[in-house]
Structure formats: structure tokens, C-alpha cells
Symmetry: C2
Subunit: 488 residues, 2 copies
């Protein structure tokens, strides 16, 4: 008993310090004065040192060995503490520090190289990042697969082989749908000028509509939208383009999905080892179902049209046509701007390349050519510049290998959850039509969000949906939605 109690008390403090670290990250992206970056680096390094010392503290190992779980809650705590401890003790402190230093530095170098469309300038850094991540993965994998070790950081309990098989099953139907849509007529985008204050006002309103609790969060601007924090303080950000209002709005809704997952975790789980979203994939399932299955549904877009007219005045699209405008399908270079049909194809490309990279079949020097060849094959167009290709995303520059597939897993999970939600709340569209996603939000909170990391990622989705995880519900949904919207 004493070992468990000591461990949980020790871990509570570690979790609280982890929240402080998250707050520093938020501040850095939203509030920090430009000249403070170097000092902030020292502050983050100091706090990271404290966290690392706590995660590798030998007492944690002793407590884990002696502790006996009394309840499911205890078991979830021990599972997550053991996972973090095992990982932390395997990675040499110097390697962890060197990786932190390098990836912090490389983000700036990547941004510069991307602005200059200069892959060659960034390759040595990327090579260094990959080499260190390889070393880290080898330390964690202890003889096992390197790429699997990295995936486990973001989606514990799954493997590259499983994901690869899933993607192989998804691809034919996605490509078939994409090809059918290629012949369909698409409406033009919204045109006009959409002032920043009005976009932010609408974002605040719609965030609240989707259950975001401003008493335990706030909405600010950032270059790349994100959600940050757990428990009682979960903050979101968005971005504004005055020529295009849907990016701001749907970024907000996406982050609200992430944030309400954190906000809705049972208060008694706060600052415990499992008191946060259980994996990146499950997290993404929440952001995606809010953004796509709910907010991009035809009934909700009709409601949204009215709200936008109220905020911005007359629009260049009619309410009845608005779902088609919002769900326009178009082949493009940029993952984050992709429609629901193309999105997973962008992920598959990245997954295959990073799997080859860490499997030893591909070298960093050949990565750009591999990207461009694959993109042309998959998307039928040639990459025109590195910012539309290899230098597009921040993930690889900062060492987030194994992260990309969780986006597609999130989509698959969202498909399962949506099928179950529609089964349990058959008249959901009636509510969405009047701008009331509350029945869906209550269902998600009760069945998934409030449990945090009580169960593993797979168990979380299967417990919530009552169905076995499969790509079928997502693909059925996409066929039905896009087929219906564009008559294909």
C-alpha cells in the first residue's frame, strides 16, 4: 500500500510540473517576446532536467516493483507510470539532452530552408536528427524494430505492420472515390474580405457551440494552431486569413475537439498518470469527428451559413450549396489543407517513407527524390517546390518520426465512433441542423472523453463504440458523404 501511495504522490508532482512545461510551450507560441527565445531555452532545459530526473528516479522503479493495484484506476496509473519510466531510463541522459538541443535548433533552420526552398541547406541537420532518433529508438527498442519503438511514443499498442496492413486495405477504396470525384463539378471557394475581429468572434461563438469551456481555457492566435494543457486549463489557438474564413473556423473546431477531450476528463483523474488523452490517434479522433463528421456535415453547414451571414453579411454561396463549398475536393500539395478523401493519402506517403528510412531501405539524401516520385504517382502532379514537398511539415525536422500515422488512425477511429454515435443518436442531424451538436458531445464525453487514459488506445475506441476497430466505417462514411454531395 505504502509503495503505491508514495508512487502516486510522487507522480502527482511530476504531472503538475509537466503541466508547467506545457504552459511554457503555449507561452512561447502565443505571448513570448521575440528576444526571449534564448533565455526560454535555458528555462525549458532546466525544467526538462527536473522532469527527466523524476522520471528516471530509482525510487520509481522500486515503487513500481512493490506496488499492488487495488482498482482499474490504480492499474491505469501503474501502466502509464511504468511506460514513462521504462522509456526514460533506457535513453541515456546525454542523448536526450542532445536531441532536445538539436531539435530545438533545427526547427529554426527548417523554417529558414523552407522559406528559401533550399533542401540542400537543411539535409545535414535532418541527417543528424535521423541519426540521433535512430540511436534513441535503438535504446528503447532493445533489439526490436526501430520504427515500432517510435510509433509507441505516440500510439502505444500498435505496430508499423498493423498500420501498414490497415493502410493497404484503405487505399483501393480511397483511390476509387478520389477518381470518381475527379470528374465531378466543384463549386468555387468563398470570395470576399472577412475581417480578423469578426472571424475571431465567430470562432469564439462556434467553439462554445462545440462545448469548449472558456472558464477552463482561452483562444488566442498562433502561426500553427494547437491545443495545450490538461485538466482545468486547456488552451487553444487559431490563425486568421482575411481572404478565407473557413481555415480559422475549422482550425478552431479541430482544436476544440482536442481541448474538450482534455477538459472533459473526469476531474478526479486530473494530474494523474492517465489524466490526459490516451494517445495521439485517439486525440485526433476527437478533433476529426468534431471538425469533419459534425461540423462539415450538411445539416450543420446550413446552420453555419446563417451564422456567417450574421457575422460577415451576404456570402458568395447559398446555404443549400454550402456543404459542397466546405467539402470541396481538390488535389493539392498541402496535407493540412487536404479534404477528407485526400488527407489519408498524404499520410500514407509519409508513413511509407519514414518506415523505409528507419528500416534502412532509404537514406536521407534520397528522401526528396523518393517524396517527389511518390507524390507524382499518388497525386498525379509534380511537386513544384520543396515547401510543397519534403520541407512542408515541421514533424521530421523536430524528430517526430512515427507521429504521422496517428493522424490517419485518428480518422479511422473517428469513423468507428461516428458509426456508433449515429447508431445511438439516430436523430442527430435534426439537432445539427439547428446548430446543436450537444447530443453528440454528450455521447463522446460519456463514452470516451471522461475516461482519459483509463484504457489503452484500442480499448478506448472499442469501449466507446462497441465495435471492433476497422477502416470500414470511415470508408462507408466517405463514400456516402462525398457520393451524396457530388453525385458520384
Amino acid at each position: 500500500m505504502a509503495a503505491l501511495d508514495d508512487l502516486l504522490s510522487f507522480n502527482h508532482t511530476t504531472e503538475a510540473l509537466g503541466q508547467v512545461m506545457g504552459r511554457l510551450g503555449w507561452d512561447q507560441e502565443t505571448m513570448m517576446p521575440p528576444g526571449a527565445a534564448e533565455q526560454r531555452g535555458a528555462e525549458i532545459a532546466a525544467l526538462e532536467g527536473v522532469l527527466h530526473a523524476r522520471r528516471t528516479d530509482p525510487r520509481v522503479g522500486e515503487w513500481l516493483a512493490a506496488a499492488e493495484a487495488r482498482t482499474d484506476v490504480d492499474r491505469a496509473q501503474l501502466r502509464e507510470i511504468a511506460r514513462a519510466h521504462a522509456r526514460a531510463v533506457k535513453v541515456p541522459a546525454e542523448l536526450a539532452a542532445e536531441l532536445a538541443r538539436l531539435t530545438s535548433l533545427s526547427q529554426g533552420l527548417w523554417a529558414k530552408a523552407r522559406a528559401n526552398q533550399d533542401v540542400a541547406a537543411f539535409l545535414p541537420t535532418l541527417k543528424h536528427v535521423v541519426a540521433l532518433k535512430r540511436e534513441e529508438a535503438a535504446a528503447i527498442a532493445e533489439g526490436g524494430d526501430l520504427y515500432d519503438a517510435m510509433i509507441a511514443d505516440y500510439e502505444p499498442g500498435t505496430t508499423a505492420a498493423e498500420i501498414g496492413a490497415l493502410f493497404d486495405r484503405m487505399r483501393p477504396r480511397l483511390v476509387a472515390l478520389r477518381d470518381r470525384l475527379a470528374g465531378a463539378q466543384m463549386p468555387p471557394s468563398l470570395a470576399g474580405h472577412f475581417p480578423k475581429p469578426l472571424q475571431l468572434k465567430l470562432s469564439h461563438e462556434i467553439a462554445a457551440t462545440f462545448g469548449y469551456d472558456f472558464d477552463h481555457g482561452r483562444l488566442d492566435l498562433a502561426v500553427h494552431p494547437f491545443s495545450s494543457g490538461s485538466g482545468a486549463d486547456v488552451r487553444i489557438t487559431t490563425r486568421v486569413d482575411e481572404a478565407e474564413p473557413l481555415g480559422c473556423l475549422y482550425s478552431t473546431i479541430h482544436e476544440v475537439g482536442h481541448a474538450t477531450y482534455e477538459q472533459n476528463i473526469a476531474p478526479e483523474f486530473r494530474l494523474t498518470a492517465f489524466g490526459q488523452g490516451v494517445s495521439m490517434g485517439v486525440h485526433e479522433s476527437q478533433s476529426r469527428i468534431y471538425e469533419n463528421q459534425l461540423a462539415r456535415s450538411a445539416p450543420f453547414t446550413r446552420y453555419l451559413h446563417g451564422r456567417m451571414v450574421e457575422h460577415f453579411g451576404p456570402l458568395t454561396a447559398h446555404a443549400e450549396d454550402f456543404a459542397r463549398v466546405i467539402n470541396r475536393v481538390q488535389t493539392g500539395y498541402i496535407r493540412t489543407e487536404a479534404d477528407e478523401v485526400h488527407y489519408n493519402l498524404h499520410i500514407m506517403l509519409r508513413f511509407d517513407l519514414e518506415r523505409q528510412l528507419f528500416g534502412g531501405q532509404l537514406e536521407v539524401e534520397d528522401l526528396e527524390e523518393a517524396w517527389n516520385t511518390r507524390f507524382a504517382a499518388d497525386f498525379g502532379m509534380a511537386v513544384d517546390k520543396p515547401s510543397n514537398g519534403l520541407l512542408q511539415d515541421v514533424h521530421w525536422p523536430v524528430g517526430l518520426f512515427g507521429y504521422f500515422p496517428t493522424y490517419a488512425l485518428g480518422n479511422v477511429y473517428a469513423g468507428c465512433l461516428d458509426a456508433a454515435l449515429r447508431r445511438d443518436v439516430p436523430d442527430l442531424d435534426v439537432a445539427l441542423e439547428v446548430g446543436d451538436p450537444a447530443p453528440a458531445l454528450a455521447w463522446l464525453r460519456e463514452n470516451l472523453q471522461r475516461h482519459g487514459g483509463l484504457r489503452t488506445p484500442r480499448e478506448t475506441i472499442e469501449h466507446a463504440s462497441g465495435i471492433e476497430i476497422s477502416e470500414a466505417p470511415l470508408l462507408d462514411y466517405l463514400d456516402a458523404k462525398y457520393g451524396g454531395l457530388f453525385g458520384v
Copy 2:
């Protein structure tokens, strides 16, 4: 050598974590969502535990015993590290934790009691705070004077006896000036409506005029204005009353004085033990000289008048009369709203009461009566309600006994610095008349600010001014300024 290097490296991390703590405080007062207070308490307690463990780490004592200073910089480091370590090890951890918990709680209770004008509701808490602070002071003083031990937390190197003697010398001339001014005609305050965005725009402009570096700081709103952080990230706040623009503006300039002191400390001193303002009194000397001797000088107010007309349109006062409007003298209840003549009388009242409280001549139960009696005697008017009396300031409720006298010390220091500045920069008024305080700012940076805590507080002022600390320059300045403005 090894001991010194190990100690300085260890302390660098502690200082970085101290900055993180400061950032949490800033966030709490400016950005934090209202529902996050409880979780923030846990986060702060966790970080406070880390800091306490580092400050009391036995290795610090060993390194201090073995370290040999090579330079003045080393000596300043060792002086400050030894001071913090000695204090930390003397206070039992449970007492420190209990004080932290109680004073965090009591702030809310005080705010409520003040809103309800209910001294009785707050007295038990205040009694508890005083009891714990007494216990803490006894642990630190080790047989010495309790009140001196508390003063040393804010102004090391001075004693209640010295401050008492200083105040005894100041009082007669202050009272005589106050009495002469009682018969003078005062102009009315500014009247009108001053929109918040325009007040903030003017505050940004004047902050920059006074050398505030927005590349290493930012200006936000808070209920009580403050400055936060050291080195490369020093943030300030202000408040806005749309009926009265001078509060916002002069609060900003006051905080700019604090903040530029921190921003201007030599970059190589950042995150060292002395890389911040050396004491509360010296800090206050900077905020006061910016706010009073510079920004409330007649030449600068004529420039400011033009800037305000530019921002707000015509004012109800003429430029030639603006110094009299800005420096109106009026007896009032509230310390923070007091003019330069009355301000120190407010401090003397608090100093004498807290000295008696910790000397055992006064009980908490009798504090309100003592306050009201003393206020009537000193200010010639009866306290009308507790929020204008005993419940006015947050300091005592949160345990800041020994802090108040540093405000008056700051005024005395500012008097010395101003005399030296006027000696060295004889044509300063010509620059102030055109809104250019740069010669004064350069003098302060070079002679005082850049050195941080390299010297003790007293040495800092005497090194910068080249004169021995005395009340005479301040009183001469007040007699000349107010005599000139109001013909008394």
C-alpha cells in the same frame, strides 16, 4: 575551483526555474482562465517544492564552504547564494509549506472581507498569518529582532532602527510642506472620457519613450499593475479607468522603471544569483525616479500634454497648467493614489504599526483601532471604511511584513539618484521638454541598472550617485518642486 563552478552551474538552473515560477505568476494575473486556479495552485506548489529542495540542497552548503571567489562577480554570486541558502535551511519545510498555503488562501479571504467592509471576518486569518510569520522570523533571526529579520527579506543590510531614525528625520519637513500646501489652490482633475484602446496606445508609446524594450517584454492588463521577470523577458501590466487617463499612464511608467532595471542588467549576469534588481528599495528607486522625478517634472508634462491632445483630442487643462494638474496635492485614504508629499506619511504609519506588531507592543485585535487613531492624527481625517483603512493593501494579508518601508526607502534613494543625475546632466530639462528622457535613462543604466545585484543595496545607490544616502536630497527636491508649482 571545482566547488565554485559546480555551485554556479547548479545555481544557474535554480535561477532558470525561478524565472519559470515568475512566468506562472504573470500568467495567473493576466491570462489564466478563472477555473484554473486550483490546478495552478498544485503546479506552483510542485515547482516551489523543487526550488525549495534546490535552495536547501546540502551540496550548496558544502560548495559554499569550499568555494573561493576569484572576482567581484564571484563574490556577488556567493553573497546572494549564501543568503538564500541560509534563509532556506533555517525555515522548516512544513512551516514554509503552511505559510505558502495560508497566504495563497488568505488573499481571497482578504479580497472578500474588503469588498464586504468586514474586518472581523478577516481578523482570524490575519492573526494566523502574523503567528506563522512570527514563527518564520524567529527561525531566521536566531535570537535577533523579528522585524529586522523580515526587513532583510526585502532590503538586506538595513534595520528597523535605521529606518525609524530616517523616518523621524523626514517627518518634520514633510509635514511642514504638507501644511503649507494645505492652503494652496489646486486645479481640478482632468475631465472627459478616455477610451481604453487609446489609453493603451499612449501607454505603449510612452513606455517606449522611457526605454522599455518590447523585444524583451510586453504590456498587458491586470487588476493591480506589476512588473515580472528578469533578463530577456520582463513583462509589465497596467490598468485602465476610462474616466481618468493618468492612472493608466503613470502606472505604466512606474512599471517601466522596474522593468528597465531588469532589462538593462548586463546580459552576462542573466540567470546568475545577482542578475536581478538587488532589493525592493533599489527597485522602487527606479520606478519612482521614472514616474516622479522624470515623468511628473514640469518640462515632461508639457511634452506629455501634446501627446495626450494628439491621442484624445482637446483636454480640460492647458499645457502650462498640466504639471499642477498631474501633481495635485490632496489628502486621501489610499496609499497608491497619494501624491509625492503624502506618500511617505502613508508608509510611516504602516511601518510603525508593523514594527509594534512584531515587537509585541500591539496585538492583531487592536490593529484596526491603532490604524484609525494614527490615520486621524497624521492625516486629519477619520477612516470612513475598512477598505480605506486596515483592509486597504494586500501586503499584510499575504504576509509581506517588512515590505512597506522599502517604498519610502525607494523614494529616498530616488532623491539621491536624482540629485546626482541633475549634477551630471545639467541640461536634462531641455531634453525632457521635448519628450526625450534618454540622457537620464543612459545615466541610470550606466551607473546603476546594468550592475544588477553586484553590490549591496546601499553600495548600489552610493556607487551610482557618488553621495552618501540621506533624506535631504528627496526633501530638497519636494520643497523645490511643490513650492515652485503651487507658490508655497
